[in-house]
């Protein structure tokens, strides 16, 4: 069983790794940015598995053999593309990476980062042993749907026929379909699969933030960012709860990180592949829409934010060109989501509520705005489950260290901040317009939706603040 579990999860991730390496800008070496590719492969691999499983199920019916054939059909072109890339730059000069000696600060931060990650993993493990089926939304919605998809055979569409609609049939299926796909490949159910999904997304989220910030602002800054994220108790707690907020948070921060990397990492120019990060950003963006409906809001936020930030700086043509390249990665996944929404999903209960006050009644009720605003402020101050206010600590740190945004990153930082702002406004209005009991809805959802944005916020925050090296060097200069 353990070997089958490892193979069922590893196979799609290796496929994703090959695809990511194939479109990675610059030199195509397996070892180039290996850890970052691994972290991205975790989300991309599970997303790819989920999409292939759903399409195979919807078009051809349940079949373990069919799923294996479908996966092989994806692997072969991936390998072909990778081989083509290898051959197309075999004459390119291979730049030597000269590793600078490790400073004492880097050594200390590295040790503390490893301790933080180990603590997060241990917390995750203890909670998962205690609640192997996850928390409420996991067993009531996502894992329940996985059981339907796996157990129902040709009657899997019954999942969307429950008369009252409480099963949220409009929710996208990345996690349930991914879990069901692994069970299909393994030939049996096990709670180890959803637990492993939760663990992988938790670790990968920390990894993406740590490595991206390291590449963009230096190792010490990256270690600090990764440490703060790993030490946010909400992350391993909700990862172990098996909620989809952590996977969504992964796709959101991976999307933003790839946009930042596009403009900053040095690369050699190859036709098409020089924009590989944009293609991958499109893939991550697409998978965010396949994970939760909030991903659709994020899609809109990205398009609007990059329009506002990019057009004044680089012109409309540049924005259009970027969108087209992002679309190369985005459209295939969006087609799967579109097919699901058109053929199976019912109207969203939040947008088309069967109950509660009317639309204009909620829109014009100012008391709802005050309740939600108060909740946002209160939750913002206590967010994360730190022993002190995490938000206050970061604000204090910002005031002490100061801002320092690289010139090359200004446009992307502005775009990221606008995107996160749009997401916050979207969540705010979603709560104001909620058809459910407002206090209850806030109590059960606000900290989780903020967790979706948290890794992205940490990423952007540490791209904005001065690095410890810069701050200490600056203080030396000023003291002389």
């Amino acid at each position: 069983m353990t070997l089958r579990l490892i193979l069922s999860i590893l196979a799609p991730q290796i496929t994703a790794f090959i695809l990511i390496s194939a479109v990675w800008p610059g030199q195509t070496r397996i070892r180039s940015h290996f850890l970052l590719k691994c972290c991205l492969s975790i989300g991309a691999g599970l997303g790819l598995l989920s999409c292939v499983y759903f399409l195979q199920l919807a078009l051809f019916g349940p079949s373990r053999k069919g799923l294996v054939i479908a996966l092989v059909a994806v692997v072969i072109p991936a390998i072909a593309l990778f081989v083509y890339r290898l051959r197309s730059n075999k004459d390119a000069s291979q730049s030597e990476c000269i590793r600078e000696p490790i400073s004492r600060m880097e050594l200390i931060l590295s040790v503390l980062f490893i301790v933080a990650v180990a603590s997060a993993v241990a917390t995750f493990v203890f909670l998962s042993v205690r609640q192997p089926h996850g928390e409420w939304d996991a067993w009531a919605v996502y894992n329940m749907k996985a059981r339907f998809l796996f157990r129902a055979g040709n009657d899997w569409r019954d999942l969307f026929r429950e008369p009252t609609g409480w099963t949220s049939p409009d929710y996208p299926l990345l996690i349930p379909a991914g879990i069901a796909a692994c069970w299909t490949l393994m030939g049996g159910e096990t709670v180890a699969v959803p637990i492993t999904f939760g663990m992988l997304f938790t670790i990968a989220t920390i990894g993406v933030v740590y490595i991206s910030v390291s590449l963009l602002r230096g190792k010490n800054q990256g270690l600090l960012a990764g440490l703060i994220l790993a030490c946010t108790p909400f992350l391993p707690i909700h990862g172990a709860n098996q909620y989809t907020d952590v996977p969504l948070g992964f796709f959101l921060c991976a999307t933003l990180a790839l946009f930042h990397l596009q403009d900053t990492l040095p690369e050699q120019t190859y036709r098409f592949f020089e924009h590989g990060f944009l293609v991958l950003a499109g893939v991550m963006l697409g998978f965010s829409t396949w994970t939760k409906n909030e991903g659709v809001l994020f899609l809109v936020a990205i398009f609007v934010a990059r329009f506002v930030a990019l057009v004044p700086a680089k012109g409309l043509k540049s924005y259009g060109r970027q969108l087209a390249i992002v679309g190369v990665g985005l459209v295939p996944v969006l087609l799967v989501v579109f097919y699901f929404k058109v053929t199976l999903a019912t109207p969203n209960r939040m947008l088309f509520p069967p109950q509660g006050p009317g639309f204009f009644e909620k829109l014009l009720d100012t008391s709802r705005y005050w309740i939600v605003l108060n909740a946002f402020v209160t939750e913002g101050l206590v967010f994360g489950k730190w022993v002190v206010s995490l938000t206050a600590c970061l604000l204090f740190y910002l005031l002490l260290i100061g801002l320092s945004i690289n010139q090359k990153e200004v446009t992307n930082v502005v775009a990221s901040l606008i995107a996160l702002g749009i997401m916050l406004i979207g969540y705010f209005m979603a709560l104001v317009m909620s058809p459910l009991d407002l206090s209850g809805h806030i109590a059960t959802s606000l900290n989780r939706v903020l967790l979706q944005l948290w890794p992205s916020f940490i990423l952007v925050f540490f791209l904005m603040v001065r690095t410890p090296d810069q701050a200490l060097a600056r203080s030396e200069v000023l003291s002389h």
């Binding site: 603590s119 192997p132 089926h133 055979g153 099963t167 790993a230 994360g384 260290i401 003291s479």
Partner: protein
């Protein structure tokens, strides 16, 4: 700027890291405190209540559900425990659709009677005839099945 500025920077970084690690340690200790024996979690034990009734249910299709605390017309206003029992029943019996709508040939009644729903053993199944030719099977642990013609 004087020597103090560099010290303040170092102290600020150290404080941030200190509170971060302290929070992580507190979370780890709390998680360890609730850590239990594998297989003894609430949901795994709850699912065992349905071991007997599975033999009387179809593999597919839709069955009715009735339970304490359920608001049948506006389910979102139901008692939290009642909702939890319904959703856990659905989770356990998937891919059978467990619906609180009426007029089903088979209807599951899930009644914990205010006590701990987890019982270590299922009692013998007893059958009782109801009006209109219906029959009720009692599994002895708060789970009943009503079979209508």
């Amino acid at each position: 700027m004087t020597f103090d500025y560099q010290v303040r920077i170092r102290i600020g970084i150290c404080l941030l890291i200190f509170f971060a690690l302290l929070s992580s340690l507190e979370s780890l200790i709390n998680a360890y405190k609730v850590y239990g024996v594998s297989g003894a979690d609430y949901i795994t034990r709850y699912e065992k209540r349905f071991d007997e009734i599975r033999g009387f249910l179809p593999a597919r299709g839709i069955v009715g559900y009735a339970g304490e605390g359920i608001n049948y017309t506006e389910y979102w206003k139901s008692d939290a425990v009642g909702l939890q029992n319904w959703f856990l029943t659905q989770y356990t019996l998937a891919p059978l659709v467990v619906s609180i709508t009426t007029n089903h040939k088979l209807t599951i009644i899930n009644n914990t009677q205010g006590g701990d729903p987890i019982v270590s053993e299922n009692a013998e199944v007893t059958a009782r005839d109801l009006a209109n030719g219906a029959q009720m099977l009692d599994f002895g642990n708060g789970i009943k099945l009503v079979v209508t013609q």
